[in-house]
């Protein structure tokens, strides 16, 4: 292989990216050395098993990936803003929309949700960490290895270019001969292992580590949504694992699972992809529903309306989510009987979702509503998501779908579902739980300005796409002529995209501004909220709860505040905590190199990296580390420092 095949060449934009990657890496290395932060980075972050820090790292990665995916989106909008644009060529455009999709779903939405889940769930159920803290660190570093592997593809070897769905036969070695889709199969595989482990970890945590008295039906709604999500994860992700494995065999080892010759079946990829892919949509959106439930209830000063129906509708959604996948390929060639069946199941899933929408509205009804930034995102979510849902029912009708299929109408629909459903939710949750982790709130004025930019620009960007789709503009087209008449609406959409970019820049600026100037919160409960996480001081000490809380009903912390009853009368005793370990980080590095060498089919290095992975795993199973104890005096001191004299 020659050097000009190894690096992507010939694109000024990518040369720019290479230079900036080198400069940023050098700046980070220099900064760490100059400020002598290497030890701090290693001790406090790279080796940590603390669920809160792992959560923070997930969220930082998600924000960086949001930026990366956002730049992809702006590039696509710029290319299609006017007829016959010459900003990107067809190949580059293909790579950009592919990475935009993969990154936004798998490396932005999911890690953002995992981040919030990591920070919040143990606190909400009154636990001191997750069930398997070391496994949690492994999950994070595998996700990180996968994400980095996927991201270097655009400078080394070329990005995947067959869409985020990577349909065969296009994604086969015959039609996509570059290494791009090898990156796809391996990066998703590696981060997928991490996701699966997170699923297992949180199911055990929620089932086994709840505070005394917290029955399943007393759990906060976010914890419920995470439990259901994790169940979907452990049943949906194995399908993706197998599909990606077969894809890897087809592309790297010359097998014929998805080829059109020799008994292969190209359509089986689409089938397996969506058997995972549709539940994946609910993996992203159910925790979002949980976040909105928490926020709407907290800022309406009311308990959540219809708690049991909220739980029941999530259980029904989790079951139905496995019964609808064929609606992603109505036009593939199966008969009316099949399409009819999947039409009905798809429409049925709107029913439990509708139940949830009404429950939120009834929670708001007669509530004492305060319009904070997280509440604004939650309120905007309801109408915007409903537009997404209703257009979803339109798409669910198989006969009508022959008209909408693969048009911008579909693109508009899923952005109308995923942006309010996932992005608004994680941003709302980010604002809501930020003071818990860092001890100060984000600035409300900046937050609200960012909100209005994002909410309005979102509609300006994506509403025109409904009409473009109905006019016949297909998705993934990189150029069109002026006679089509697509120009003006695309230009409008570009304007919206710039507004969205401004909104997200404001959001990041708000983090910077608030870090410097926001007043510090001394109470630990700045929103006057309802669930257990707010009973801890902010920022949360490493052991979470000085004494394990005891719960007598739903919204336990709220009633303990109202009735002036402490959550526990126990004395402080020494606390058992897991010790830090560097092995998960090293495992992540080994997996990264294993993936990278396999992408290029460099066998000897791959085998060496594979053996390294096995050795690290083996040493981990012989670890005899029983953790450490925090003595009582230290706990008392910490609590006094964080809470003042109340202890």
């Amino acid at each position: 292989m020659k050097w000009d095949e190894f690096f992507v060449t010939g694109e000024p934009l990518i040369y720019g990216a290479m230079v900036s990657i080198v400069l940023v890496s050098l700046a980070i290395l220099f900064g760490l050395t100059y400020y002598k932060k290497w030890g701090y980075l290693w001790r406090e972050w790279l080796t940590t098993v603390d669920h809160k820090k792992i959560g923070v790292m997930y969220i930082i990665c998600a924000l960086i990936m949001l930026f990366r995916g956002g730049v992809d989106a702006i590039m696509m909008r710029a290319q299609t803003a006017a007829p016959d644009m010459k900003f990107l060529d067809g190949q580059h455009y293909n790579e950009v929309f592919t990475t935009h999709g993969v990154i936004m779903i798998l490396f932005m939405a999911m890690p953002f949700i995992f981040g919030l889940m990591n920070v919040v769930v143990p606190l909400q159920i009154g636990a001191r960490d997750v069930a398997f803290p070391k496994l949690n660190a492994i999950s994070f570093w595998l996700f990180f290895a996968g994400a980095m592997l996927f991201n270097i593809s655009f400078v080394i070897g070329g990005s995947p270019d067959a869409g985020w769905t990577a349909y065969f036969p296009l994604a086969s070695i015959e039609f996509s001969p570059t290494v791009g889709n090898n990156y796809y199969s391996l990066a998703l595989q590696i981060s997928g292992i991490g996701t699966l482990l997170t699923g297992v970890n949180f199911i055990v945590t929620i089932l086994k580590m709840r505070a005394k008295g917290m029955t399943l039906m007393r759990m906060p709604m976010f914890t419920w949504s995470v439990l259901i999500t994790c169940v979907i994860i452990i049943f949906a992700f194995p399908v993706l694992t197998i599909a990606l494995l077969l894809m890897m065999f087809d592309r790297i080892f010359g097998s014929q699972f998805f080829t059109m010759a020799n008994g292969g079946m190209d359509m089986l990829w689409a089938n397996l992809f969506w058997v995972w892919g549709h539940p994946e949509v609910y993996i992203v959106i159910l925790p979002a529903f949980g976040i909105f439930s928490e926020i709407i209830s907290a800022f309406s000063r009311k308990n959540l309306y219809g708690y049991s129906s909220m739980v029941a509708s999530m259980v029904v959604i989790s079951g139905l989510s496995f019964l609808v996948w064929a609606h992603h390929f109505y036009t593939m060639g199966q008969g009316a009987m099949v399409n009819g069946f999947f039409s009905i199941t798809t429409m049925a899933i709107a029913v439990p979702t509708g139940v949830k929408i009404f429950n939120w509205l009834f929670t708001l009804h007669k509530g004492r509503i305060s319009f904070t930034t997280p509440m604004l995102y939650s309120l905007a979510f309801i109408p915007i998501f409903t537009i997404g849902g209703v257009t979803g029912v339109m798409l669910a009708m198989a006969s009508a779908d022959y008209q909408y299929h693969n048009t911008m109408f579909l693109v508009a629909h899923f952005h109308y579902v995923l942006i309010p459903g996932a992005v608004f939710a994680v941003i709302a949750g980010f604002h809501y739980w930020f003071p818990k982790v860092f001890g100060f709130r984000l600035n409300e004025k900046l937050g609200k300005t960012a909100f209005w930019f994002i909410a309005i620009s979102f509609n300006v960007t994506f509403f025109p796409l409904f009409f473009l789709g109905l006019m016949g503009m297909t998705r993934r087209t990189y150029t069109y002529s002026a006679e089509t008449g697509f120009g003006p609406l695309n230009m409008l959409s570009m304007v919206g995209a710039i507004g969205l970019a401004i909104g997200f820049i404001l959001l990041v600026y708000n983090i910077y501004w608030s870090t410097r100037y926001q007043p510090r919160d001394k109470t630990g409960d700045p929103w006057d909220a309802r669930s257990l996480e707010w009973s801890t001081p902010s920022p949360v000490p490493v052991y979470n709860f000085a004494v394990a809380p005891e719960v007598k009903g739903r919204d336990a912390f709220w009633f303990s505040k109202k009735n002036n009853e402490p959550l526990s009368n126990e004395k402080i005793t020494k606390i058992h905590m897991p010790s830090n370990t560097g092995k998960p980080f090293i495992l992540g590095i080994a997996f990264f190199f294993l993936g990278f060498f396999l992408v290029f089919s460099w066998w000897i290095p791959s085998i060496i990296a594979g053996i390294a992975v096995l050795i690290i795993l083996a040493t981990m199973s012989f670890d005899r580390d029983h953790g450490y104890y925090i003595p009582v005096e230290e706990i008392v001191q910490t609590e006094q420092k964080l809470r003042g004299d109340t202890v």
Partner: protein, 95 residues
């Protein structure tokens, strides 16, 4: 004491899983495809039962209920995936 030295359940499980694996090799013989599938199906179900009962102790924890619910859900997803795929590509395929 003897029970600790010779865990009969585990040994029985070990031997039966070996036997079941060996029996599954019958499909390499020249027999009709239908009986091959039948043999594979029966040995696979028995094998899964042995693994779950004897090695993973499903019935022995306090919250068996959630374990059984999870297994039932796994079966549901597996059957839906397999039967659904057959439904799409074989039984309901338009030709």
């Amino acid at each position: 004491m003897l029970k600790q030295l010779f865990p009969i359940k585990h040994v029985a499980g070990y031997i039966s899983s070996l036997v079941l694996s060996a029996v599954a090799l019958v499909v390499l013989l020249d027999i009709p495809a239908g009986s091959k599938m039948a043999i594979l199906l029966v040995t696979a179900v028995l094998q899964a039962a042995v693994q779950l009962m004897l090695f993973m102790h499903v019935g022995e924890s306090e919250d068996k209920k959630s374990v059984y619910i999870n297994i039932a859900y796994a079966l549901f997803v597996a059957l839906v995936t397999i039967l659904g795929t057959l439904f799409i590509f074989v039984w309901g395929w338009y030709s």
